[in-house]
């Protein structure tokens, strides 16, 4: 059982890594896609740079949420902050599972949000006064990333109280 107990922290870290990895990949892909579209608009109309930049950045938040979950996990299991909490096998698996919503939803929602952002950038290229609506279309997608973030946070923060 000693080996099993030592594996606890490995699973917890795996969870943190997955959350930062997947959400980060999603945002990187998303911001990249939106950036290509934005650059296209700027070749024709450089004065729209400010507007399309905001739209480009929208799919970037998932990466930050992933980082956030990873960070909270790291400080809970004592890798950050120098605490020496021992993580049991069960607790490690729980942390792992708690990180999954943010990782997976972060990945997909960032890419889907980026597609909405690209469409929004095209909208702004033709009708710049519709900027507010273009932002909203893209921000609707982010709701689900936020819900996933919420569940991940609540789960991770709740695990120590279980005493496992």
């Amino acid at each position: 059982m000693v080996i099993m107990d030592n594996l606890g922290i490995v699973f917890a870290l795996l969870g943190a890594a997955i959350s930062a990895l997947l959400a980060g990949i999603g945002s990187a892909v998303g911001v990249g896609m939106a950036g290509e579209a934005a650059a296209g608009v700027v070749t024709e109309e450089p004065q729209k740079f400010g507007k399309v930049l905001i739209l480009q950045l929208l799919p970037g938040t998932q990466g930050i949420y992933g980082l956030l979950i990873a960070f909270i996990t790291l400080s809970q299991i004592g890798i950050l902050g120098g605490g020496n909490a021992s993580v049991s096998f069960r607790a490690g698996l729980l942390y792992f599972v708690a990180c999954l919503p943010m990782g997976f939803v972060g990945l997909w929602s960032a890419i889907r949000q980026a597609r909405a952002a690209v469409a929004g950038i095209n909208l702004v290229a033709k009708r710049p006064e519709q900027m507010g609506k273009a932002i909203i279309f893209s921000a609707m997608v982010e709701t689900y990333a936020i819900l996933a973030l919420l569940i991940s946070i609540l789960a991770i923060v709740g695990i120590p109280a279980l005493g496992v």
Partner: protein, 675 residues
């Protein structure tokens, strides 16, 4: 908080006064001109030709300005966007207008010079190509168009590989044997002029009568004859081309000097673009007028509170007939909002959604209160808040003349910054946990600034409950707005059916949840309402639900259809659930700001204490927090907008109004003042 009432206006005047009257209306800028409504024998004048003529001049002027700016960029400060329009006195105006031909000539000269410069740059590129082509032949001491002497022929060209003399002889010999021309090859004279890694430049001399055979052999080994045709030795030709390039360069320099000299006219050119903008606007208005032989009719809208004054002023100055009536909803008047100075900055945000449609109330005031409140919770860091407040107030103070859009945006962020500071103090965020990190790293003493209320990072569940509570208040305020507009319009039935029943259903459900132990335990609340309250709440819920089933399909006459629609209406209660949950973003975004700030603080403190550690900390701190402010400012802006547009407006607001855009002096660079 209101949409200003508009009046329909008709002005009938003499054609002789038309120019003066239009200029006066443009100057005061409070009248939106619409197409003339009378059509009895009145004609519209087509001004498209004149407009496009002016547009052409304006385009030239703008292009010239662009060119002047690229050549004279240092005069522009990075804050130019904030500076706004400069003042221009009317006494100077006439003088400049009189000089306009001259100024247009200057602008066209600039365009011309720019074109010359571009042409000359192309010429230089061509010269460079020629020089590059000649360079390998530099060692040749004869002109390249020499074809030979009486008895011999000379051929210049390249082989597409790096050859030595021996190898060329060898290859030629082989080729000669293959083509049966060994004799000819023996008589050949080949000289290598130059070799590069991939090419060998050679001169071949042969007897005149053997030329054809030699060409065959050469072609066989991959020789390409040079196309250069020049009657001088390559070296002297290169010298000549270089001299020519120098000459063109100095011509370009002269052109550029002339452009620099023209730069002193750039203010005049700017003035003139403004002048033509005004004239184009005026001609657009003239097109909308109804005109007879000697009179014209102008129709439009003006805010009711100024319409009397406008009429009086016009009647005093000229012989005009001035009619005005307060417009009704059927006229579809344009929308002009009037709000107090705290809410006014958010008119811009409302505009990005939509202005109030027919008969709708102006939601700006209520929206602005929630806007600042929600924005503050999402950013919630006192350090960031103070920075935002400082930046915005300094910009507002230093650049009093900035454009309206910019001023509104800065004012909005100023108030948002105040709210951010407030919530930062409540939740204990000062650049994240910077105080704690700095004190432990550099002074070996832990100083913690306690949050005034509680720390969301330590009690996320409590923060979640608070977020949802804010959501419920926001949504109910949205329903309240609907109640207000229903009552104001006198639709008491709609108020009961569409608002009161929903209040009963959703409010009852929430109160009922608070009486169940399971929910209060989960939410971490330390109270549970008594079961009797729960019974009353259920009563309210049932009344509300039945009311909704019976009334929300009231547009249908068929009773079955009506109930079916009513059931569907009740289904919207799930919408309330997701609306309320949507406010959990307040928690998520607030935590995001705090956690990322902490990450940067921690990264900075990893370099240890001491002077070097301090410098490293300062660098990481400055960079990291700048980044964090940027990201989270964007996040807070986007998500506050979302909560307003989707959740709040979803309850009562549709929009669709058209913005009031008066005929006014709509200049880009100068504002004209009477002195």
């Amino acid at each position: 908080m209101s949409v200003l009432p508009m009046s329909k206006v008709n002005i009938i005047g003499l054609k002789n006064d038309r120019k003066k009257i239009l200029e006066y209306i443009q100057k005061i800028g409070i009248l939106e001109v619409k197409d003339c409504q009378y059509d009895a024998g009145l004609e519209n004048v087509d001004t498209a030709v004149a407009q496009s003529k002016f547009q052409k001049v304006k385009d030239d002027l703008l292009q010239a300005l662009n060119i002047l700016e690229t050549y004279d960029a240092e005069g522009k400060s990075i804050f130019y966007i904030l500076q706004g329009k400069r003042t221009f006195f009317r006494s100077d105006y006439e003088g400049l207008v009189a000089k306009r031909e001259q100024i247009i000539d200057v602008a066209r000269d600039v365009l011309n010079l720019k074109k010359q410069i571009d042409d000359k740059k192309m010429q230089i590129l061509k010269l460079m190509d020629q020089i590059d082509e000649l360079k390998p032949w530099q060692d040749l001491s004869i002109a390249m168009n020499i074809k030979g002497t009486d008895k011999t022929k000379v051929v210049f060209g390249t082989l597409s590989e790096n050859y030595t003399k021996e190898r060329i002889t060898l290859v030629l010999k082989e080729a000669g044997e293959k083509l049966g021309a060994d004799k000819t090859v023996e008589d050949l004279y080949v000289d290598i002029i130059n070799t590069t890694k991939v090419k060998t430049h050679i001169a071949v001399i042969c007897k005149k009568e053997q030329l054809e055979e030699v060409e065959n052999v050469l072609r066989y080994i991959g020789f390409i004859e040079s196309q250069i045709d020049c009657d001088k030795t390559p070296t002297s030709k290169i010298g000549e081309l270089r001299k020519k390039r120098q000459e063109i360069k100095s011509e370009i320099y002269n052109c550029e000097k002339s452009i620099y000299e023209a730069a002193k006219f750039s203010d005049d050119i700017k003035f003139l673009t403004d002048y033509y903008t005004m004239r184009i606007d005026k001609y657009e208005v003239i097109e909308k007028l109804g005109q007879s032989q000697s009179t014209f009719v102008l129709s439009g809208f003006a805010p009711t509170n100024v319409v009397e004054k406008l009429g009086k002023a016009l009647c005093e100055k000229w012989d005009v007939v001035f009619e005005h009536t307060v417009s009704s909803e059927e006229d579809n008047p344009p929308i002009l909002l009037k709000n107090n100075s705290i809410s006014e900055p958010l008119e811009g945000v409302l505009e990005t959604f939509s202005l109030p449609g027919r008969g709708e109330i102006d939601p700006t005031v209520v929206m602005s209160m929630f806007y600042y409140f929600l924005f503050g919770i999402m950013l919630s860091d006192a350090g960031y808040g103070v920075l935002i407040v400082l930046a915005c107030s300094i910009a507002l103070w230093r650049f009093p003349k900035m454009g309206d859009v910019m001023r509104r945006a800065l004012k909005m962020y100023l108030y948002c910054g105040i709210s951010t500071t407030f919530w930062g103090v409540m939740f204990g965020g000062y650049f994240g946990d910077a105080v704690q990190v700095i004190s432990t790293t550099f002074f070996n003493k832990e100083v913690v600034i306690k949050p005034l209320w509680f720390s969301p990072m330590e009690e996320p569940m409590r923060m979640l409950m608070f977020s949802l509570l804010v959501g419920i208040i926001h949504l109910f305020a949205g329903l309240g707005m609907k109640l207000y507009s229903c009552i104001k319009a006198g639709n008491l039935k709609d108020a009961l059916y569409d608002v009161i029943f929903w209040y009963m259903l959703v409010g009852g459900a929430i109160v009922f949840l608070l009486t169940t132990k399971m929910f209060t335990d989960m939410a971490g609340l330390n109270f549970t309402l008594s079961a009797n309250v729960g019974k009353v709440a259920i009563g309210f819920m049932i009344v509300g639900a039945i009311g909704i089933i019976l009334t929300s399909g009231r547009s249908s006459k068929n009773p079955f259809k009506r109930i079916a629609k009513g059931m569907y209406g009740l289904y919207n209660v799930t919408g309330y659930l997701s609306d309320i949950l949507s406010y959990s973003r307040l928690l998520a975004l607030g935590l995001a700001t705090g956690v990322i700030a902490n990450v940067f603080n921690k990264m900075g403190s990893m370099f240890g204490d001491g002077i070097l550690g301090g410098i490293a900390f300062a660098l990481v701190f400055a960079l990291g927090h700048t980044l964090n402010i940027g990201i989270n400012l964007l996040g807070a802006y986007v998500h506050t907008n979302r909560l307003q547009f989707v959740e709040f407006f979803g309850k009562f607001y549709e929009g669709g109004g058209e913005k009031f855009s008066p005929f006014k002096v709509d200049t880009a660079y100068f504002e004209i003042k009477n002195d």
